[in-house]
Each structure stands twice: as structure tokens, then as C-alpha cells.
Amino acid sequence: MSTPAPTLALTRVLSGAELLLTGFPGTLAQTVVALLLHEVPVLGHLHLVIPQKGYQSGQERFLHALARATAFRPLRTRFGEDLGTFLASRVSIHEGDIREPLCGLDASTREDLAERIDVVVHIPESTSELTPDSRELLERHVEGACHVMDLAARLPRARVLYLSSLQVHGSKASQTPEQLSTVSPAGRPFSPEAELVFLQMLACHEANEDESEAEAIQTRKQAALARADLHGFANTYAWGQALAEHLVLGRAARNPHRVVQTTLLRLGHLEAAERFPFPGFFDAYALGGALWAASQGMVSAVVGNPERTLALLPVDHAAQAILVLSAALLEGSAAPLYQLGSPGGQALSLDRALELQNLANRKALRQSPLPLQRHLERLIDLSAKPEDEAPGTPKRLKEWSAKVRAKLRNLDPNLLFPDPRSQQIRQIFSGFKVNAEWLLHEQQAQYTRSSHQLEQVQSLLLGSRFSLEQHELQSLVQRLDEESQQRFAAFSKPLNWRVYWMDILSPAYARLIPSLVSTQKAPEDPPFTLHFGALSEFDDEDEDLIELHEDSDPLSETSDWAHSHHHDADEACTRDHIHGPDCADSHDHDESAS
């Protein structure tokens, strides 16, 4: 008879623990930080590795997010003027970049962290597109993951939670087994070493005499996409994630310093928060955003498989799962791999998602003061069509409005109404022409935006139906005590998609997307003044940290990763003629950058 597993009390296990997080200020990382600080006051300390961006240091980026980002609204409400003092004793910012060996952290910082860090949570940076340039893929997602593993190996107590994506199962999978496969979704052998060399070769490709820089990027993207397609991945991001998973687990097991206990968590597509920090919190243009944008106006079809399963996941559910798994890692009871696609394992189909978007629009239109708009827009509902040439898609409507506009432009009122007595008619027609042209121009711009956003997520809409497997996580939730289940396990219960989509997701995008279109950034809260008390870690210690970074010589920091794989890349480049002499230059540049 087996002994029942002991109960896992989240707050007890996390009490006094110190966590190191990457990926800030991404949406998920912000949510995790806000959730930890708001809901787990007993947590020991939070260390954030934040890269410099432009002239903004990592610390400045954190303070800016703290003062303005909507994710921290509950913290600002709870602590008011004392927020700065509260955080100074709870959070440390380490300026570093995962693209650099050991995340760019100097020796003294690592020494300081060595005795403190219990869990490293690596949240990959959110990517703006699913077919990124292979250089970005290599640096941010593949090498970045390895650098984090190298850093973790030097922190004696640290265990690693590595976040990946459910897209690693490929676009045509009908099952999503909770295991790491040595075979790609297309059934081909998937050797991480060979894939890494291939990716490094692609990243080495530079613009040559016949090619501009933009064309070179396109060449790299196309080659990576072809490789991803060969293996049955929907896009290059999924291919990169699959590769990173293998490399992370390989490095965890074979690191010369120590074996690092590592857990992978594959997540679905992140969407607006269901509850925390507030319903509808989100700051990026995700899959739901593309569908929302497409549903505005006269679009009646998007190219996609209506049966396609969309594993959508509210960002606060993902953050809760990270907390639960961090606790399980601390307790030493975490499995090697978990999956979380949709709350309770109940995903939506593309057809249902579009239907909910239609109904959300209908509900929003109920408040419209213009009856004509209400009736006209209700006439057209969005649906998914598998054919690329389907009428009513934003792409087709864009072409159509361009054609009509061109024809309208060529209409000369003087030729149409040559009679001198028709001057009034000519004037009316000219006015109509100007208005119609302006309207068509506006529509064309909207269709262009919708079309672009849909193209970004097209690979996700064309796949097949699959069943979500997240049994490991459900079993872990069974072990949580009652309080933890109520506060941190919303992801284990089915979500009411109708209420979520119509009352939370669609209104959230209605607020967010116009702001993203006009200002290129998510709406922020009014500035909040932060006061730091006597324990002013942000004022003193972190400035010291930044100085240390500036004084240190990163070239002397050589990671295991840099040693082992740059050698492989050199070999790969010499084997491939397309890169020519640029390849060596590129490596020199990489090394000097690191």
C-alpha cells in the first residue's frame, strides 16, 4: 500500500526562500513579481536580473515599472507611500543580460548570490513575433537559456524552473505528451547538437554584395522557418524552444560544477489576467488581440482551421503555476516536466474563440448610440476558413479597398457630368468622392494592421485539434493544502470561457490595442512617487552593483557555454560556404560583445 504524498503548504515552503527571476519587465515576469510580493509576504527575498535598455539601467527600469506599470497597481494601493521601503528590503535588482555568459553578473554578485538563491525561475523574454531573426532566437532563447543554467550551476543551492511553450509539440500533433521527445513532431530524429549548429550557422549569415541587411534578415528567417517546418514545428520560435528545452536539461545533468535539479514548465499562449492584478491586465498584442483586431470592421473571415485547439492561458494563472512549482522545487518534490495549456485542461477551439469575439462585439455594440452602426456591424460575423483565398479576410478586403480607391480616384466629375448646368451635381459628387476616399483609406489602414497581426499568429491558427495533457500539474495541485488550492490554483479549474472572453479579454484589448497602435506602448498608470526608508537597497547597494558591472571585465568571465558551443559554431561556419569570411568576424564580434 503506497503512502500518500505529504501536503504542500505554499506559504510555509516559500517562507524565507530567495528566488532569482529573469524576464523582467515582460508581462509574465511582472505578474509573478507582483503576485509574490502581494500574496506571499513571507517570501525571503526576490532577485531580479534586468538588462539595461538604451540609457535606462536595470534598476531604473524596475523603478519605472513599479511606479507606472498596471501590474503593480494592487501593491501601490496596499502599501501607498510605504511601498518603496517595503520593496527595498524585499527586492534586489542585478543588472545583467541573459545573452551574456553567466547572465553578465560579475564575480562578487555571483558570490553574494551563491549562498542565498534557492530557486532560479527563467522566464524567456517575450518575443514580438513567432518567426524572429535566427540571431535573436539564438541569443535570447537558446544561448540565453544556457547562460541561465551556467549561472544556476554556480549557485550551490539553486534549483531551476525553466519556462517553455506548448508549441514544442508541433502544429499537427493530436496529443501533447508530458515528456521530452528525441523525435521531432514530424517524426525525424531531433538532435539538439545538430540543430544548435544549424542555428549558429544561420545566425552567422551576413548581408553580402547582392543583399541588403533587411534581405539578409529575411534569408535567415526563411532558412530557420524551413528548418522548423522540416521538423513539423509551426514556427521558428517553437523550434527554438524545443532546442532550448533539450539544451537546458542536458546542461542541468552534465554541468561540470554540479547537477542542477531542473523542472520544465510548458505554457500555452498567455492572455489577459482573469483576476490578478486586476481582471483584464495585459500589455501585449497576443493571439486574442489579433482576433480582436480582425473582428473590428467588415472582416468576415480569418484563415485558419476552425477545429484548431487554442491553448489560451490567463497570465495570472501562469504566474500561480510558477509559484506552485517553485514551492515544489524547494520541497524537492517537483517532476522534471509539467504542462499548462489552459485552465483545467479545457481549451477553446478557434471557431469558439471567434464566436465569442463576435458575441463580445455584439455586447459592446449594445451600448452604441448609433443604431445604424449597431445593425450594420451585426450583419457580419467572423468565422475561420481554411483556404488562403477566402473572401472577407483582412488581406482580401485590403486589396479590394485599394482597388476601389484607385477607381474612385480616376473618376473625373467633369467627364462624368460634362453639362455646364450640372455644376451643383459635380460639387456634390466631388464631396462624396473625397469622403469615400478618406473612408476607404481609413479602412485600408485598419485592414493592413489586422492583416499584419493575423500573419504574426497565422501559424497558430492553421494547426490541428489536440488534447491537452497536464496531469502532472493536476496531481501536484491535489497535494496542495486547502488554503494554497484556493489562493494559488485557479489554473487547475476549468474557466468559464464565455464570461472570460466577453467580460474580460475583449474589453481588455479594446482598451489596450488603440493605445498600442497610437503610442506603441501599453497604457500606464499616473506617476507614483516612491519613498525609500532607511533600508535603501535601491539607493545604495544596487548602485554599487551597477558600478561593479561597469568596472568588471566581462571578457575574463568565460562560461562553460561559451567554451563548448562557440567551438562547434566555428566548425559549422567553416563547413558552410554561404557565410564565408564574415562568419569569423561575426564570432569575434560575439566574443567581444560578451
Partner: protein, 221 residues
């Protein structure tokens, strides 16, 4: 000890009757534009059948009307029902019906609402009027899509047998109960209770009420 109930027919007695069958609103708001017109024909045909059918055989017409909703998503059914209640049912409530229901409640009657509409649509009305029981049609769904079949028993024209079975299931004394209706189709239900009452009756129920000496309330209830 058995309780006594006050049965209120929603269509006609509580709300002003609509000239079109209840399914029309749903059909006109189908997702596919082509379905809106083709299925509307089906609903109108069922309305004609309902007028021609003899009393007691209107269930088939009701079934036929609702069958035009096949293929509609459960989400759309719920949203349209909410809209229907908000835009049509609640604004068309007869004046003073709330006072009448309140009076029945104070006299110790269990308030039962009976409707041909889908349960989704009349649930908010039940909450609004603080009724105790709602008897309405339920659309059968499979994997989130309406099959077009109504779950038995189909609520259309209610017979005396239905009233007896309902009373037995809910421990109600029909002889001490009341019923309010407004069309000839409600006559069987009204005749099964001790205190029948016609509200703004159509010509058929008006004739029966006069013959049976049932009290009649005009539009102001």
C-alpha cells in the same frame, strides 16, 4: 401538508404577446447570414402551423420552430437570450404584474412561471420577479452546439395531466392553486386549478372564461 401555487404564463399573461414566435429573434441573429433567411422561413411556417393546429397539438409546431436553431452555439444562445430578456421581455412586462405576484406571495402561494421561451432567456425574469419555480424549454446541446431538439417535456400548450404531474412532483394542491393565462392554449391549465384567471385574454380564452365564469383582468392587471 400540500402547498398552493400560483401559475403564471409568461407569454401573454405577464408580458404583452409578441406577434412572432419566440424563435424568430434567435433565427434572425444566426452567425451565418444565409441561415438567417432560410431558417426564418421555417419559423414562419411553424407559426402558420400553430394557428391551424387544433388545441392540444401545438407542441409539434413549437418543436418545429425551435428546430431552426440547430447548429447555433451554446454561447450565442446564452448571449441572445440575455439580450432578448433585456430588450424585449422586461420592457414588455404588463403593468402591475409585480404587484399581483407580490400579492400571491403574501397569500402564501408558490410562484411558478411557465414559458415557451428558452430557460436562458427567462431566468433573469425569474430573478427579477422573485419567482420560486421556472418551467421553460431547454435546448439540447452537444459539444457546445444546439441540436435543434427541445428537452422533454416541451413547454407549449400545457395539459391538465401535466399540471397534475407537476403538482405531484412539487407537493402542490391544485384545487387550492391559481393559474393566470391569456390565450386559448392556456385553457387546459386554467381548468386544472381551483382559481383560474384570464389576463387580457384573446378571443378564444375570453369565450371560455365567459362560459366557465372565470374572472378576467384587463391589461392593467
Amino acid at each position: 401538508m400540500s402547498r398552493k401555487a400560483a401559475f403564471f404564463r409568461v407569454e401573454g399573461a405577464l408580458t404583452r404577446p409578441s406577434p412572432l414566435p419566440a424563435a424568430t429573434f434567435y433565427v434572425l441573429n444566426q452567425r451565418e447570414v444565409s441561415h438567417r433567411f432560410t431558417r426564418l422561413g421555417g419559423v414562419l411556417a411553424s407559426a402558420g402551423l400553430s394557428l391551424l393546429a387544433p388545441l392540444g397539438e401545438r407542441q409539434e409546431a413549437t418543436r418545429l420552430a425551435w428546430s431552426n436553431l440547430r447548429g447555433m452555439s451554446e454561447d450565442r444562445l446564452a448571449v441572445l437570450s440575455e439580450e432578448l430578456c433585456e430588450r424585449q421581455l422586461i420592457p414588455s412586462l404588463r403593468p402591475n404584474v409585480r404587484a399581483l405576484i407580490e400579492q400571491c406571495r403574501q397569500e402564501g402561494f408558490v410562484i411558478v412561471l411557465i414559458s415557451e421561451q428558452l430557460e436562458f432567456a427567462v431566468s433573469p425574469l425569474k430573478d427579477l420577479l422573485q419567482a420560486d419555480v421556472l418551467v421553460a424549454n431547454t435546448m439540447e446541446t452537444h459539444e457546445g452546439v444546439a441540436t435543434g431538439r427541445l428537452v422533454e417535456p416541451v413547454i407549449s400548450q400545457l395539459s391538465g395531466q401535466w399540471a397534475k404531474a407537476f403538482a405531484a412532483a412539487h407537493d402542490l394542491d391544485l384545487a387550492a392553486s391559481r393559474a393566470y393565462g391569456s390565450t386559448g392554449g392556456d385553457a387546459l391549465l386554467l381548468s386544472a386549478v381551483g382559481e383560474p384567471c384570464a389576463i387580457a385574454p384573446d378571443w378564444r380564452l375570453r369565450t371560455i372564461a365567459r362560459d366557465q365564469n372565470w374572472p378576467t383582468l384587463e391589461d392593467a392587471a
